[in-house]
């Protein structure tokens, strides 16, 4: 591996280029019409224009990316997150062109992208999944299945997704009434009336575990992250380690993630996501087969450079440390600064970034793909920067977060800065007593 094409944009492209250059590798950036002046374009050794601004015509155009890699003599492709990172078809196209895809095998991406297959893999690995039933055909079957699953249950359309086709049910009586309606709704919405039951879990936290696995079969974790502060399934604040987690639960959840990665023959960096209930039970949700936005908080508490490890693993080298060499040192929080208007239901708001003053100091890291004068275009996500604040303990990390927010100045677009200021001072957040619906309940007008 000598030259890497970075098949992404913005802050993660910058992050990958930095890691590659530090490892002595050359980089090729790609850019769309809107991104010709992008910071990552300037930082890379070479840059290739790959198409129009709309992502479908540039960053999602796998043929254009293969062509860019081949024409520049790149021998590997780093997909970053989003875009083509979890598309098995694209990973296969890269491999077929003789390029090393910096991620797991095509078959692993495929399996973990299939809800049912991923759930089966978790079961085989002895990792708990959310209690659920197979398809239920009629009311009698549903009532019997619900006894095993345990109320309250969700009636879910098998063909649904993204939160659609889900009905909560609290009792037998309600289930008798809801089931036929849910089937009819599924038939008309998804042309498939198959429904199944799943336990409804209230007040759960989103806990995810970072894993690294190499070709030699070494699988390690760099502990968990708590990403419970979400709005419409978008994470806004992430913390590592998860505050207030009992040591036994921490060990179990981290070990479960490693077991799953081992079970599926995982290679590379990945994240295993769980729901953690108020009673301390945890259930597998899904595995993300790529680097994640919030990876820097794991780096901050362990000293591990996750992107460098990705590059090592792709080059056929082992993970650079063993499990007992990695420990939690302190705490870290990531605040996502997005171009969204908190006063207008967080409407994404493109515009010209007339000023961008970034914070600094001990324990403050800023990952961004922008500089002052850039345009935040409407074609991609709204993230301007990630503030990653860490310290010897959680209170220090949060205090540095507050200071960083007060130093940060963004002019030209509305941002989530004011919301973060408020959230860091919320008693529930300070107490680590939040769950995945907490933010939507706190800001009911925001959704």
């Amino acid at each position: 591996m000598r030259r890497i094409l970075v098949a992404n944009r913005g802050e993660i492209a910058v992050r990958i280029i930095r890691a590659a250059h530090a490892a002595g590798l050359e980089t090729v950036a790609v850019y769309s019409d809107a991104d010709a002046q992008g910071r990552w374009v300037q930082l890379a050794d070479t840059a290739v224009h790959i198409g129009k601004s709309a992502a479908a015509k540039s960053y999602l155009n796998s043929a254009a990316l293969v062509e860019a890699a081949v024409s520049t003599g790149a021998d590997a492709v780093h997909p970053g997150y989003g875009f083509l990172s979890e598309r098995p078809g694209a990973a296969k196209e890269f491999a077929d062109a003789g390029l090393t895809f910096i991620g797991p095998a095509v078959s692993t991406i495929e399996m973990m992208g299939d809800k049912a297959a991923a759930r089966d893999a978790a079961k085989r690995a002895g990792v708990p999944v959310v209690p659920g039933s197979g398809p239920v055909g009629d009311v009698d079957e549903a009532l019997a299945a619900a006894e095993d699953v345990g109320y309250p249950v969700l009636v879910k359309a098998a063909a649904g997704g993204g939160g659609r086709g889900i009905r909560p049910v609290a009792s037998r009586e309600e289930l008798t009434e809801v089931l036929p309606a849910a089937q009819a709704e599924a038939r008309s919405a998804f042309s498939d009336d198959t429904v199944y039951l799943e336990r409804a879990i209230d007040g759960a936290r989103h806990i995810e575990v970072q894993v690294l696995a190499d070709h030699a079969g070494n699988v390690v974790h760099t502990f968990e992250r708590d990403c419970s502060v979400q709005r419409r399934r978008q994470k806004l604040i992430e913390e590592a380690p998860a505050p207030g987690l009992a040591a036994g639960t921490r060990a179990s959840i981290n070990e479960a993630a490693v077991r799953l990665a081992r079970q599926v023959g995982y290679v590379g960096a990945g994240t295993v996501e769980f729901l953690l209930t108020p009673s301390g039970e945890f259930f597998f949700i899904e595995m993300n087969t790529r680097i994640q936005v919030e990876h820097p908080i794991s780096e901050a508490i362990t000293g591990v450079d996750l992107v460098s490890e990705q590059l090592r693993i792709a080059a056929g080298e082992p993970v650079s440390f063993s499990q007992d060499e990695v420990q939690i040192r302190g705490a870290a929080v990531e605040l996502r600064i997005n171009a969204e208007d908190p006063d207008n239901r967080f409407q994404p708001s493109p515009g010209d970034l007339s000023r961008l003053d970034l914070p600094g100091g001990p324990g403050v890291r800023v990952d961004t793909g922008f500089v002052a004068g850039d345009r935040i275009s409407p074609f991609y996500d709204s993230m301007i920067a990630k503030l990653i604040c860490s310290g010897p303990d959680r209170d220090t990390a949060l205090a540095r977060g507050r200071q960083a927010l007060s130093e940060l100045r963004v002019d030209g677009v509305p941002t989530t800065v004011s919301m973060h200021r408020r959230l860091l001072d919320e008693p529930d957040f300070r107490a680590g007593a939040v769950h995945t619906k907490w933010l939507e309940e706190l800001l009911p007008d925001s959704t």
């Binding site: 994404p348 493109p350 409407p378 074609f379």
Partner: protein
């Protein structure tokens, strides 16, 4: 010439989902407030609504095109 203009910059779509039919076609009568297209802004989809009633004379942008604020999207004819 009466037109419907883009209220925000982004990517323009004529259908609610790739496999669905277009919201409206040339020659269709439309009424005030009716959804005629989508504009994707930072991965969120915003409905474009007709500001007045009329007939769709012509779409001035193609499905999947980039549009800017104030750009004419649809030319309207007589009701």
């Amino acid at each position: 010439m009466t037109t419907i203009k883009a209220q925000m910059p982004g990517v323009f779509y004529r259908r609610p989902a790739p496999e669905k039919p277009a919201y409206v076609d040339d020659g269709d009568k439309i009424s005030e407030g009716q959804t005629i297209a989508l504009i994707e802004v930072m991965k969120t989809f915003n409905e474009v609504k007709a500001g007045e009633s009329g007939t769709v004379a012509e779409f001035l942008v193609e499905d999947g095109d980039e549009v800017d604020v104030g750009q004419d999207i649809v030319r309207l004819g007589e009701v």
